[in-house]
Every structure is written in C-alpha cells, then in structure tokens.
C-alpha cells in the first residue's frame, strides 16, 4: 500500500548545462552571435546597435525612432512592409532601451531569405514619414491618458522619478508635450547618427543554418560602420522625499517600495538576489505567505532586482485593497526588517537555493530563454561566467551571508515608498 504522507526521493540541480552562443566576427567588425538550438524551424534575429535613452537629444526620440522604424523606408510604404511581414507569418519590430536600439525579426527559417532584404532596409533606410509619425504621436498621447488611469502605471512612473530624479534620463516619464516635439527630421537625424552608424551586433537563435549566416554576412558584412562611443548615464539624484503618494480614488492601491542597489557586476549581486528571492521572489516567499496567503490583502506581491542598466533597483510591488494600504506597507517593512534581524532558517535557505538553481536551469531549456539569457548579460558587458558565478554563490551561501546582505540593503535607509491609490 502506498504511503502518501512520505515524499518521494529527489535530487537537487547541481550543475547547469549552459547552452552558449557562438560568435563570428565579419571582416568589417560586425559580430554575429549564433544560438543554434531547438527542433522547430524558427529564427529569432536581433540587430543591436547604440541608440538608447542616453543618446537621445530630447525625450521620446529613441523610443519613437525605434517604434516607427517599420513605418516606411526609401523603397516601401508602411502598408507594404506590414503586408510583406504578415504574408510570411513573421513579426518585425523595433525597440529601444537605455543604451541600445534593436530591431527584431521572428520568422520561420524557410522565409528568412525572402525577408532579409526588407529587414536590412528597415534597419538602415527608414524614412519616418510624417503622416505615420503623426498617428504614432497621437497614439502615444492617448495611451498616456489611459495609463494615467492605472494605479500600476502611476506608481511605476513615480518610482522612477523618486529613484533617479525626475530630470534624469532613467527617471523622467515622457509627457504628452514631448511628442509634439518629435518630427521626421529629428528621428532621421537620431537614427543616422546612432543606430545606422554604430557597429552592430547580431543575435540569431533557433534552427540556424550556414545559409542563414551567409545571408547575414552578405548584407551586414558589406556595410561600413563608424562605431559610436558608449555614453554613461549621469549619477542618479534621488528625491529627498521618501514617501510619494499619487492619490486616486478606487478599490485598490498600488504599492512600490524601492531603492537603488548594486548592479550585476557587483560582488554582492548573487547574495542580494538570494535575499530578495527569499523575501518575495517565489510563491512560497515571505511576502507571499504573509500578505497573500495569510492576510488575503492581495492577488500577488513580489520582490525583485531589476538590473538592466548600470544601476540596480530593488523593487517590491503589489496591488492591495485600498483600506489595507497602510497595513500592507507596515507588513512589508516588517518582513524586510525580520530578514535583517534573524538569519534565514536552514530549511528555508535550502528551498531558496533549490528554487533559484532550478529556475536558472530551466531558463536554458528553450530557444527564447536561451536567447534572452545571452542578450540580458552580454549587452551589460558580462559573459557566461556570470551564470557560473551565480551557481557557485547559490550553492555555497550560508544563513549568515544572507543576513549580512539583508542588513546592508533591506534597511529603510534610502528606501522609497510609493503609493498610487488611497493613502489617508
């Protein structure tokens, strides 16, 4: 007879098989990073070059240039582009972040050859037609009006302003008037001075063939580039007010507690990630247990480290019933303090280790995750040894290590509290 009270034996993930990218450098310096993995005949292609928030001459320029890059080229209208991409069942778009503009293509491998000329033309010869741009600007302004009705958006916007300062490139939320100052000429100029000049790095993932690589070389290898300098963001000048409230009547409040913490290069990174995981990174974390599973204040709460730029952010976020806003903030602070005051019980630390090691292993299980796992660190100047370092640190961390890192970062010093909703 099966005894259902006894858990089956199990093994902990002890090592992680990183599926790594292979890098090829073309004669003109263009780097192609290949991740050849998966059974499906798909390709994910990204062209990265500088052209982010730190490079833009005025707010919104990088985002609008990337967002409108598919709206017309020297040889194709927006409609022709949309029809062609759609005809091949592909997705093609542009995006920008702090430092980079990237152009992304997702398609079946068999259609790559047909799509590449258009992809290349979009990357280097966009025209940002006025009519399409006017629509994008209006859309931005109208979406902004809708976003201002969302407590989660209001809180995130206030949070960035508090952490970096409202005039900092990473802290300033674009306003409606910013869009009025975006014109075809300003986007063309930005694109040609940044993305189009800079030596790109291409990431191609999926079922990659030699033919695909030859095609990339044929197009991107024949162009001359003039690499542009990396630009560092100015130092953050956070708000001197530690509490920011955006009053908005409604059923719920969005709460964010946040502070600046070290980035991924810092020696504390791995342990800080562990402490944050224990606090609010997984379903059985302390915040989930207390705020959701014990008190029922919320549908969900999480703590995480966001480190996509040179700065790291510790962010704790949740949406709670308006009437328990203060109570929830108190409980969050209490849980942070508890991690400072008491070492993590051994059993809990073991769970955190298992959760984090397994999550790391499963983040190398399919082509989407493997590709993201590469781009996330590569463009911050890190290599695969970053993940090796995490594995080592996770395995060897002690309760004292976690407590020490909590004592350093989980105090209320420099901790901002943001509320969008009700806060009497």
């Amino acid at each position: 007879m099966l005894d259902r009270t006894i858990a089956p034996a199990f093994q902990r993930v002890e090592k992680i098989d990183l599926v790594k990218s292979q890098t090829l450098t073309l004669s003109n310096g263009v780097k192609i990073h290949t991740i050849n993995v998966g059974e499906q005949d798909i390709l994910l292609v990204h062209v990265y070059a500088k052209g982010g928030i730190v490079h833009q001459p005025a707010p919104l320029i990088a985002r609008m240039a990337a967002g409108a890059i598919t709206e017309g080229t020297i040889n194709h209208t927006a409609k022709q582009i949309a029809d062609t991409v759609s005809f091949y069942g592909a997705e093609l778009d542009g995006a920008s972040d702090a430092k980079y503009t990237k152009i992304n293509l997702a398609c079946l491998g068999k259609h790559f050859e047909a799509l590449l000329p258009l992809f290349f033309e979009i990357a280097y010869h966009p025209t940002f037609p006025m009519e399409e741009l006017e629509r994008k600007k209006q859309q931005f302004q109208q979406n902004l009006m809708v976003n201002k009705q969302k407590t989660s958006w209001l809180a995130s916007s206030a949070l960035e302003g508090a952490l970096y300062g409202t005039q900092h490139p990473y802290g300033r939320t674009p306003v409606a008037a910013d869009a009025d100052n975006v014109f075809t000429e300003s986007l063309k100029q930005f694109h040609s001075r940044t993305f189009a000049n800079d030596l790109p790095e291409i990431v191609i993932a999926g079922k990659v063939t030699d033919k695909h690589l030859q095609l990339l070389e044929e197009y991107f290898g024949a162009r001359t580039y003039y690499p542009i300098e990396n630009v560092a963001a100015p130092l953050p000048e956070g708000s001197s007010e530690m509490l920011h409230v955006v009053e908005k009547a409604g059923l719920q409040s969005t709460i964010r507690l946040a502070k600046l913490v070290p980035n991924r290069h810092h020696p504390d990174n791995a342990l800080l990630r562990m402490a944050t995981e224990a606090l609010g990174g997984y379903f059985g974390s302390r915040l989930m247990k207390n705020i959701r599973e014990d008190k029922g204040y919320t549908y969900g709460i999480s703590a995480g480290i966001k480190a996509e730029t040179e700065f790291g952010n510790l962010v704790i976020g949740t949406d709670v019933g308006a009437e328990v806003t203060q109570a929830a903030i108190n409980e969050i602070k209490l849980e942070m303090q508890r991690m400072v005051d008491e070492p993590l019980p051994t059993q809990e630390l073991e769970t955190v280790k298992t959760v984090m090691l397994s999550a790391l292993a499963s983040s190398f299980a399919n082509v989407y995750d493997i590709s993201t796992g590469f781009t996330r660190i590569h463009f911050l100047g890190l290599g695969y040894d970053y993940y090796g370092g995490l594995v080592d640190a996770y395995k060897h961390a002690t309760p004292a290590d976690i407590q020490a890192v909590a004592a350093k970062y989980f105090t209320t010093e420099n901790l901002y509290t943001i509320v969008a909703g009700s806060y009497q």
């Binding site: 259902r4 199990f10 499906q40 409609k79 204040y297 549908y299 292993a361």
Partner: protein
C-alpha cells in the same frame, strides 16, 4: 508532428505521454473537464475560486507549494469557461514528486475553512485588480451577457459579481470537488524527458487507486443565433470612448472552426489587417483596433474592440466599422489574404511548439475534446481551407442582425 502515446487507467483516467529527450525538464499536466460554464447562475466564479483552493493542502500533503519548491518545481493553473488546467514543470529526475503531489489533490483536499476564507479575499482582490480597478477592465463582463442569452458563457470565469465569491461555502466546495474532480473527468499529460514505461508505472502507482466518481452530467443550453442586433451602453470615467462588438461563432469541433479563426485574423490581427489599415490608418478613427476569435468548446465569439481617437463620434465610427465588416461578409476575402493567414497560422504552430509546456497543454485540451491527435490534424485543416468556404462562413457569421454592440462611453470623473 507531435509524437505521443496514450493509455487509460482502470478508474478512467486518460494518460498521454509525449517524450522529448532534448530537454532536461519534465511537465506533468492535469486538465479537469470543468469550467465556469458548469457553474450555477447564482454561484458564478466558483470554478476559478476552487482552482485557488487546490493549492491549500490535500489530504496527505499540507503544503503543496512548499513540497514542490523543495524539488525545484514550478507550477501554475488556469480556469477557463471550459476547463481547469494544472501544470508542474520540474527537473526530469524529480518527476515522481509531481505524481505524488498531483495525485493526492485528486484524491481529496484538506477542506480547511481558513484556506477558503483567505482565498475568497485573494480572489476578490484579483477581481478588483484585473477587472474592476482597470480602465475598460470590465468591458468583457458586459459583452458576455450581451452575446450569450442561454448558454453559461454569459458570465466570465472570474464571476458575475463579487458577492458570488463572498457567499461560497465549504459545502459548495466539497460538493464541487466530488462532482467534478475525478480521474474519470480528467486527462493526465506527461511531456519532456520521461519514458513511456516510467510514465505508465508512476501513473498506475499514484493515480491508479483513486476511485472513479459520479461526475455531474453536463447539460448546457445551445446558444441560439441572434435574429436581431443587440446593443448596450455603459458610461465610465475613462479618457477615450471605446466600442466592443461581438459575433457568435461556432464550436471547437465544427468544420468551420478554422475558417472563423482565419477570418478574425484577416479582419483584425496586426497592422496589415483590414480594420487596422482602413479605420486606424486611412480614416484615422481609432487609436487602436483589433479583432480576435475567443474560442471555446461550445460556440465561441469574435470580439472586435477599439478605443476611439479623441474628437470622433461613436456614430461615425460605428458606421465605418459596419461598412468594413459588411465588405468582408459580402465580398469575401482575396486569394492573397487566404495565403497570408495560412502562413501565419503555420508560423504560430511552430512558435507555440517551442515550449514543452505548450505542447503538453495543447495535447490535454485536444484529448478533452475527444482526440489528442487534433494537435497534428488541425494544421492540415488550416492548410485545406478554401476561399469559397471562408466566404460562406463570413457571410453567415457577420450578418448585420448578428452584431452585438457595447458602447463604452467616456464621462468626466465625478
């Protein structure tokens, strides 16, 4: 092709095994043949609330999540109008833990009153966060009862109203469990790095002894076709007017199902779609506009929705929308549109199948419909669709008297 093997335990549990040795992971997915369509009209939202209770401890295992986290597993679940689906993804070497956990909560729950009390609060916060405290978040709660008059798809999975969640009792919970959660009302899928023989042994060991149960017989009304267009209006403190339009479609196993899917795509998926090109770009009436097919086991619906640009009137916009849809219904699609949508469907299948979890869920859903091999035969049906068939379907689905329209009007906040 997705290769799989299938067998059935003596208690009626159907088991499907899809072995893929390229991944270090294994997935265990259990789908129960119960969704919000099976709820009583005065106790809506219950199937979903019940899904939350499934994580509150089972007969022999007090802490489901803790036990799974200890072996590096991840899990989640979703409830739809048709089904409730639970999955675990974990390192393949630890697959036995997934069998242990999932079988124990099929055997019996702890039925702890405190768990019910807390999860009622959690679900109400979910209701608020996702539907009531979001601009336009409640639109589908209004559109469903406009589209369905007889069938229980008239309420959303979250429920008709918060009071239904508040009023749920432990007796409701127990009776729901024993009339829906049963081996003979479920499909178990194992996918990833697991051999057929291992799956067979472990299925027998953990699920084999769970008794067959008397499952509540489903007897749902068939939603009749509209004979008259329907309209409703709401006024809300949102910045832009919006329009929501629905058309009743066909059930999942109907021969026209994929024609409907593809029509919805031609009409309103992506920037090359008809609605986007005409009403967003050329006529500049909408800030955004899209159409999609909300599929379901019984008759589904095509939903068209968009927010209006500031300064245009709802009347003008609705007339333009009607004209576009009428064009599709009367003139049909082009050969190029047909090829485009086929290519897109083909790509969607490939991109979806990258993830082992998607393959597992898809197999489970198809098995509940009666044939797991639909995962392989559906793409052939898509490839075989013709312009003639699609034009006939368009004319039938999009007849003007079948339109349901919800005007979501912007008013200044009080």
């Amino acid at each position: 092709m997705i290769q799989f093997k299938e067998f059935t335990l003596s208690n009626g549990l159907r088991v499907i095994v899809h072995t893929d040795k390229t991944t270090p992971l294994a997935v265990l997915n259990v789908i129960y043949d119960v969704g919000s369509r099976d709820e009583h009209p005065d106790k809506t939202g219950f199937a979903h609330l019940f899904e939350h209770l499934m994580f509150g401890g089972s007969e022999n295992i007090p802490d489901y999540d803790g036990a799974l986290q200890a072996v590096g597993g991840e899990n989640n679940a979703f409830t739809s109008p048709d089904v409730t689906n639970y999955y675990i993804s974990l390192p393949a070497v630890n697959i036995e833990t997934a069998f242990w956990l999932e079988s124990d909560r099929m055997l019996a729950l702890s039925f702890d009153p405190e768990v019910l009390e807390v999860q009622q609060k959690v679900v109400i916060e979910e209701f608020n966060q996702r539907y009531l405290n979001q601009p336009y978040g409640d639109a589908m709660l209004h559109l469903r009862p406009l589209t369905y008059k007889q069938h229980s798809y008239q309420w959303a999975t979250i429920g008709k109203e918060v009071s239904h969640i508040e009023n749920a009792t432990m007796d409701d919970v127990k009776s729901f469990f024993f009339s829906h959660y049963a081996p003979n009302n479920a499909v178990l899928v194992l996918a990833g790095n697991i051999e057929l023989e291992t799956a067979r042994e472990l299925s027998e060991k953990y699920f084999g002894s769970i008794p067959k149960r008397d499952v509540q017989v489903r007897n749902l009304a068939v939603e009749p076709e509209n004979t008259e267009a329907r309209r409703a209006e709401v006024e809300m403190p949102v910045p832009l007017d919006a329009i929501y339009r629905s058309y009743l479609t066909v059930d999942r196993l109907h021969p026209d199902f994929f024609a409907v899917e593809m029509l919805a795509e031609i009409l309103g998926q992506g920037e090359s779609s008809r609605l986007f090109q005409t009403l967003v770009k050329e006529k500049k009436l909408f800030n955004n506009l899209s159409a999609y097919h909300m599929t379901s086991t019984d008759k589904g619906m095509i939903v068209v929705n968009g927010k209006l640009n500031a300064g245009v009137s709802l009347e003008e916009v609705e007339a333009a929308l009607d004209a576009e849809i009428a064009k599709l219904a009367t003139s049909g699609i082009t050969e190029e549109e047909l090829q485009k949508t086929k290519n897109r469907q083909e790509a969607v299948v490939e991109f979806t199948n990258v993830e082992i979890l998607n393959r597992a869920i898809n197999l489970a859903m198809c098995a509940l419909l009666g044939d797991a091999n639909l995962v392989n035969t559906d793409p052939q049906k898509i490839a075989a669709a013709t312009q003639k068939q699609m034009n006939e379907v368009a004319a039938r689905i999009f007849a003007p008297e079948k339109a349901n329209t919800l005007l979501y009007k912007s008013i200044k906040e009080a």
